[in-house]
């Protein structure tokens, strides 16, 4: 019979195909077996079997962030769903579009404390952009299409669809993607032309301007980065990027000031402090960026371009909010600037750049060069030199190595840099790299890791082996939870409570145990050869790069301090650098 109705599980697959999904990341269990059965009977959607549900979500994040598509996850009820929570929260904080299907006990058992039951919609309500519990199979297709719409439009984010097992078995009606329009959810993407004109007025009048660019530009798509680059170059104004915004503007361009914020560049932070016009594009005045709010950029007028109205005036009062898609808004500003044949204030701009060059001349990322021990910064410089010009994607774990990666690896394009910014999730990098490699099978994908973070999702080595994903894990092994140690040194009288990475595995043997290649560099003169071998090996590789254990990450804006109160290096450690109010900050 050809007109037989599909069951819920088949509807899931049909809807995925309809949405253009060709790969999903998941882990089976009792409550999703019908969907796994439907997967088995088809070959349009590929399933990647991870080794932990958290990794499924991070893999989907890596996939999404490197392609601009929605990442899709499938997990079982109860522990499957709760294991996914960290990944969902990560995706929410960094605005990554994810659809996560969770199995659920049959509808008649919901609320009975049934085996592997969890209140998944309850648990995930605060860590998703939206979630659904589908109780009627005839609503399933519509719900899935709606969920994709919600996940990818406006400020993107994760959406959970909880699927009771009986709904997966029940036959129902399929509704096609084009037949579903969301009743209410239609975020504003086109900016108000009046606001655009006002922005150009302000841009024309500026004497000390700066563009402060965040992940919203990346989320808006590569066209947004192109438009931004053109606007920055046309105006001649400086541009700094947040951790999430790296790649939105080419790092090698002289107008780039690099990253700003707690471990950002001296020049970027001083420009933010001293500017008279700040143009925030797809950035959210996060506390890692602003430092002490009361001392934040005291003399500037501020324009804030964001697709999420709730980001506006949340932390910092702005003079001109523009609600809209970053790309569309920048393009509109650029068009208006050109239409007016606007000119920057040449004299003021020249003086501004002269000041900026003086700050830049401090060479704030400088570190003590030595051949005694591998400095982590040096290792990353060599890694960058070896990967330049290749199609390279970088993911990171969380800690000092992450900040050094942001400082020393240069991104010329968007979608090449995936890191856990908002949540700061150790264990993100390896699974994210898996997702990136799935999307870009021939690219060089490197997870810059710390020895502590990598152990948080090390089981995914097995996934790399199964799918022959040649991901490279470059561990900057300092034998410490370096970032924790650095804070203890600075704030807690160097009492290194539980921050030593004791009883580490032999990472070379560990790699081999998982069928990967293990390499180690302990001396400066071994480094280049190890990096070369890593890159040339067409298999998964772990590099155990043994680096200086004592190195700290500078510059640093201590908690509670302002942009112009940065510490530039170990010699710059003022005793009173952290105030009492600063101590309580994270």
């Amino acid at each position: 019979m050809t007109d037989q109705q599909p069951n819920g599980a088949e509807i899931v697959i049909k809807a995925l195909v309809d949405q253009g999904v060709d790969v999903i990341f998941g882990y089976p269990g009792g409550a999703v077996l019908p969907v796994y059965d439907a997967l088995f009977k088809q070959n349009r959607v590929r399933h990647i079997l991870v080794r932990h549900e958290q990794a499924a979500v991070h893999a989907a994040e890596g996939y999404a962030r490197s392609t601009g598509k929605v990442g899709v996850v499938l997990v079982t009820s109860g522990p499957g769903a709760t294991n996914a929570v960290t990944g969902l929260t990560d995706a929410l904080m960094d605005s990554i579009p994810i659809i996560c299907f969770t199995g659920q006990v049959p509808t008649h058992l919901i609320g009975n404390d049934a085996f592997q039951e969890a209140d998944t919609t309850g648990i995930t309500r605060p860590c998703t952009k939206h979630n659904y519990l589908v109780k009627d199979v005839n609503q399933l297709a519509r719900t899935i299409h709606e969920a994709f719409h919600v996940a990818r439009s406006g400020r993107p984010g994760p959406v959970v669809i909880d699927l009771p097992k009986d709904v997966q078995f029940a036959p129902g009606t399929y509704v096609a993607r084009e037949d579903v329009v969301h009743r209410t959810y239609r975020p504003q993407t086109e900016p108000d032309p009046k606001a655009v004109a006002a922005a150009v007025d302000m841009l024309e009048q500026a004497k000390r301007p700066v563009f402060y660019v965040g992940g919203g530009v990346i989320n808006s798509g590569p066209e947004a980065s192109k438009a931004l680059t053109e606007l920055v170059r046309t105006t001649g104004y400086p541009c700094t990027m947040t951790l999430m915004g790296l790649g939105a503007y080419p790092a090698s361009d002289p107008q780039s000031l690099g990253m700003l914020g707690m471990h950002g560049s001296y020049e970027a932070n001083l420009v933010m402090h001293g500017c008279d016009l700040m143009v925030a594009v797809g950035s959210r005045f996060d506390d890692r960026v602003t430092g002490n709010l009361t001392k934040f950029s005291p003399g500037s007028r501020k324009i804030h371009i964001d697709i999420d109205p709730s980001s506006i005036n949340k932390n910092v009062r702005v003079d001109l909010p523009i609600i809209g898609d970053a790309g569309a808004t920048i393009a509109a500003i650029l068009a208006e600037w050109k239409r007016r044949k606007a000119k920057p204030d040449r004299v003021a701009l020249k003086a501004w750049w002269k000041q900026i060059e003086e700050w830049r001349a401090r060479d704030c990322f400088r570190y003590e060069a030595t051949d005694r021990v591998i400095k982590p910064q040096y290792a990353l410089e060599r890694l960058y030199a070896a990967t330049r010009g290749r199609e390279t994607f970088i993911t990171t774990e969380v800690g000092q190595h992450q900040m050094w990666a942001a400082q020393f690896l240069k991104f010329e394009q968007p979608n090449r840099w995936m890191t856990s910014g908002g949540l700061g999730t150790m264990g993100y990098g390896l699974p994210a790299a898996m997702g990136v490699q799935i999307a870009h099978p021939d690219a060089l994908v490197i997870d810059v890791a710390g020895e502590a973070s990598i152990l948080m999702n090390i089981q995914e080595m097995s996934t790399l082996a199964q799918y022959r994903l040649p991901v490279k894990i470059f561990i900057l092994n300092n034998q410490w939870m370096g970032m924790v140690r650095q804070w203890q040194e600075l704030l807690h009288g160097a009492r290194y409570s539980e921050s030593y990475s004791d009883s580490l595995p032999d990472f070379v043997k560990l790699a081999e145990a998982f069928g990967a290649v293990g390499l180690r560099a302990t001396k400066v003169d071994e480094l280049d050869a190890v990096i070369k071998e890593m890159i040339e090996t067409p298999r998964p590789v772990i590099v155990d790069c043994c680096v200086d254990q004592k190195e700290n990450c500078f510059p640093m804006i201590p908690s509670g301090a302002a942009h112009n109160e940065m510490l530039l290096g170990p010699g710059d450690r003022r005793e009173s650098s952290v105030s009492d109010e600063g101590m309580v900050l994270v």
């Binding site: 519990l133 709730s310 949340k314 009062r317």
Partner: protein, 167 residues
Amino acid sequence: MSDIRRHTIAVLVDNEPGVLARVIGLFSGRGYNIESLTVAEVDPEVHLSRITVVTSGTPMIIEQIKAQLDRLVPVHAVRDLTLEGKSVERELALIKVAGTGDKRIESLRLADIFRARVIDSTIESFVFEMTGSTEKLDAFIGLMRPLGLVDVSRTGVVAISRGAQAL
């Protein structure tokens, strides 16, 4: 901070499971105040519910609350009735007063002045129903306290703008 003000916000939402939990979770998760919250379906045909929430905060916090509410997917409209022109606010209370003798007579006399209705009575108790502004209800309940107040149930504020405009 001295610029903390009380605002009445009306929210039109899809009447679907979990929508109230979303709204309440937003307030508790972000540390906003709820002074009162009422909800009921107002359009059964399209399943729309109206939530009236009374909250307080600085202008910046109030702006955040509205933007965060508006961001919830099932939310259709968010209106700040305190800021947008004139509105009327009412609350309903059921007030149980127990006692005999003079106190009982006095409570009845005050109820009359306040235009509270008696909707249940026994020899030793009354239940009054009263509608009015929050302040009026507060005042009446305050007067009932020494007269044998034993129980109060209040709806919280419902509000609507004056004039011909809909939400």
